[in-house]
């Protein structure tokens, strides 16, 4: 057990210049996944192995004979990034112990998967990996749907959101169910480090990546990833929408470091959720009353979090 270190990335000048995520990938213009991956690699550095699940990031960065990855990278399937990563971690461990590879070389093993590959089809493999306690970091980039296959709902799609499998019709209007609280379920595994992050708060996100790579055991970083194509917003708005997610408390940036819970991005003055929702076509069908209902749900979640923290870390709606 070790306590949370001082923040490493305090300003943009602390960010390494080295680009390990090469330009020329095929992500949509304005996709925030590229931002997340680029910064992830800046934190992790060259001694890193990436295990990527099938999904937008994978298909957009690895079309043979090209690749965007300047670190060793493997894609195996959709639902098993955690299991593959656990195999790599175990292999590196035993090969070091047997003296077959340099025992002093620290290699980061990072699994990278979408919300579908994590919350749904890959959940079993993830849970098993966490329970076994492999030393690896799992990064879930959450665009709240199966984007690669054309915007189908996932367990992480928020309530009321339109997707191609939760269409807005005369009887049903978007997704019926709530968003699965993936990071909390992961936290229930009592692994050393769990955090939620947001690319708009990139220094916070990078510090979390760093902490995740540092702890002895599994870590899990759940990153919100606004998707221009699936959420139906102008490509230039990705980071703005990400910021609004935190400012409205639709997305709360927290960490759980060896059991110590902390909201890392306090929001003293909260914005109304309509600012976040009205920018996205996937919520076009919502009435003002629907939005008020969402506001109430967010309010009660904020209340719950504030109680956990023991102070008003997220303030009232002021605008």
């Amino acid at each position: 057990m070790s306590s949370s270190p001082k923040l490493h990335y305090k300003t943009v000048f602390d960010i390494p210049k080295e680009e390990l995520f090469a330009p020329g990938h095929g992500l949509c213009a304005g996709c925030t996944a590229g931002t997340i991956v680029k910064l992830l690699l800046k934190v992790a550095g060259p001694n890193t192995v990436i295990v990527n699940a099938t999904g937008c990031v994978e298909v957009s960065t690895t079309t043979f004979p090209y690749t965007s990855w300047r670190v060793p990278y493997i894609h195996v399937a959709f639902e098993n990034a955690a299991a593959v990563a656990s195999g790599i971690e175990a292999a590196l461990k035993v090969l070091k112990a047997k003296g077959l590879i340099d025992p002093n070389k620290r290699v980061n093993v990072i699994a990278l998967a979408g919300d579908g590959g994590t919350a749904d089809i890959g959940f079993q493999a993830l849970s098993g990996t966490l329970e076994r306690g492999h030393k690896l970091m799992y990064v879930m980039y959450d665009n709240e749907a199966y984007m690669n296959t054309g915007i189908q709902r996932s367990g992480a799609t928020p309530q009321y959101a339109w997707t191609t499998t939760t269409p807005v019709g005369k009887v049903l209007r978007g997704k019926i169910q709530f968003k699965k609280p993936v990071a909390e379920i992961v936290a229930a595994h009592r692994i050393p480090y769990v955090a939620t992050a947001n690319p708009a708060h990139f220094l916070d996100m990078m510090n979390k990546f760093r902490r995740g790579l540092e702890v002895e055991g599994p870590s899990f970083i759940h990153v919100l990833q606004p998707c221009t194509t699936g959420w139906r917003f102008d490509p230039r708005l990705g980071i703005k929408i990400a910021r609004l997610a935190t400012e409205t408390a639709m997305w709360i940036n927290w960490e759980l470091d060896y059991g110590e819970f902390k909201v890392t991005v306090p929001v003293p003055k909260r914005k109304h959720v309509k600012h976040y929702i009205r920018l996205q076509g996937r919520f076009n069908h919502l009435t003002d009353r629907d939005i008020e209902e969402i506001q109430k749900m967010v309010d009660s979640e904020v209340e719950r979090i504030n109680k956990v923290v023991g102070k008003e870390i997220i303030g009232p709606v002021v605008e």
Binding site: V76, A91, A125
Partner: protein, 398 residues
């Protein structure tokens, strides 16, 4: 050469000893009857310090093979084992393991597939992996299981092959019965034969970053698959070399097929796995009674040993193929019978082929049954049947 000790082992234990003696680095497996004791034994070896390996106690077979893929990609020598439902759960990854050209070795205690659920032996599970580009060896004794797994690493890791290998044997009839087996007294005997070198396959090395498992668009995918065609073709030669080297070094000889009492026989029974033992017993009894019938054991299923088979089939009036799996709705429902038929047609041989299905879900098949099949086949020959219209379901209540 080396020193050997002769100990009683089940085929499951023989598989575990082979993995230990091949000094595997990572084992990821999930329990399923009748494979379970393979993994238990390996866990014991690790617990006793007889094997230095990471055992990944995965939560499913899907993750077992996924973890093996990860571990092999990191440069480790890996092993897994399964049966039936477990093999089916791995199905997706079978193709990925071979497509990524990883030298994974897996033992299979063959078992019937659900439904209805049956824990008993047959080869439905192995036959369902037919097109997955795994080299497939079917053993018929515990010694052969041990030896085949050792050979498997040498073939799989050969740079002209780089394909995964499965070594199958009968669930229960072999997995749980004991036979005397020679195992190496000291692992170095085995490691001189299958040395652990710097991996010759694609590995995830930060000093030489590569992308593994890329997207293969229509202008590339086909070539990747064709490389697998070439690799499995190459494996015919490599297998041959490995069998020869193994025989020379250890004085236990193996080939793609094995035959028994072929001199003077113009009818032969072809089968695989433990049933071959029953067939050779039946051959002995028939010989005593004045009837010469040969026996052929198919040992390597993939790559299919066309040449070796033709050499034998061309001298035969008829071949009786006994399958322990059903290819439902196929032109000929015995999966191996169908391949034998293709082999016969390749050279337009006039060998008659009579396809029998038996011991499905481990329905007992005795020497008497085998002799009765031969009688039946001779009858068919007399009636001029050169090919059974359908496979004959031996002993089923219709």
């Amino acid at each position: 050469m080396g020193e050997w000790v002769r100990i009683p082992l089940s085929s499951n234990y023989a598989a575990a000893y082979a993995a230990k003696d091949a000094d595997v680095d990572v084992v990821a497996a999930y329990p399923i009857t009748p494979q379970t004791t393979v993994v238990e034994k390996i866990a014991e070896f690790i617990a006793n310090g007889e094997l230095q390996a990471e055992m990944i106690h995965v939560e499913s077979e899907h993750s077992a093979l996924s973890a093996c893929i990860g571990a092999a990609s990191a440069g480790a020598r890996v092993f897994t084992a399964t049966s039936a439902q477990g093999l089916e759960l791995m199905h997706e990854l079978l193709y990925i393991a071979s497509g990524l050209r990883l030298p994974i070795v897996m033992s299979i205690a063959s078992r019937a597939l659900s439904a209805p659920i049956s824990i008993w032996g047959d080869y439905s599970d192995v036959m369902a992996t037919r097109d997955s580009s795994w080299i497939t060896i079917i053993a018929s004794s515990a010694q052969e299981v041990y030896d085949s797994i050792i050979q498997a690493y040498k073939v799989a890791e050969n740079p002209d092959v780089l394909l995964p290998v499965m070594v199958a044997y009968d669930g229960f009839l072999m997995s749980h019965t004991y036979e005397p087996v020679y195992v190496a007294k000291d692992r170095s005997t085995i490691l001189e034969f299958v040395p652990k070198r710097k991996p010759l396959w694609n590995i995830l090395d930060p000093d030489k970053p590569i992308t593994v498992g890329a997207v293969g668009n229509p202008d590339w995918y086909y070539e990747f698959k064709y490389q697998q065609v070439v690799a499995i073709e190459n494996s015919l030669n490599i297998l041959k070399q490995v069998f020869e080297e193994f025989g020379k070094r250890f004085e236990r000889n193996y080939s793609f097929i094995e035959t028994y009492n072929m001199d003077g026989s113009d009818i032969a029974i072809l089968t695989y796995g433990g049933l071959y033992g029953t067939v050779t017993e039946a051959v002995d009894i028939m010989k005593k009674r004045g009837l010469d019938v040969g026996a052929i054991k198919l040992r390597v299923f993939r790559p299919w040993p066309t040449e070796e088979l033709i050499r034998i089939l061309k001298n035969l009036k008829a071949v009786i193929v006994i399958d322990r799996a059903i290819s439902f709705g196929a032109a000929l429902e015995g999966p191996i019978a169908m391949e034998v038929l293709a082999t016969i047609s390749k050279k337009s041989l006039d060998t008659a082929l009579h396809s029998y299905i038996a011991s499905v879900g481990q329905r007992a098949v005795t020497e008497e049954d085998v002799m009765a099949m031969v009688e039946n086949s001779i009858d068919l020959l007399k009636k001029g049947v050169s090919l059974t219209e359908k496979s004959i379901y031996w002993g089923v209540r219709q």
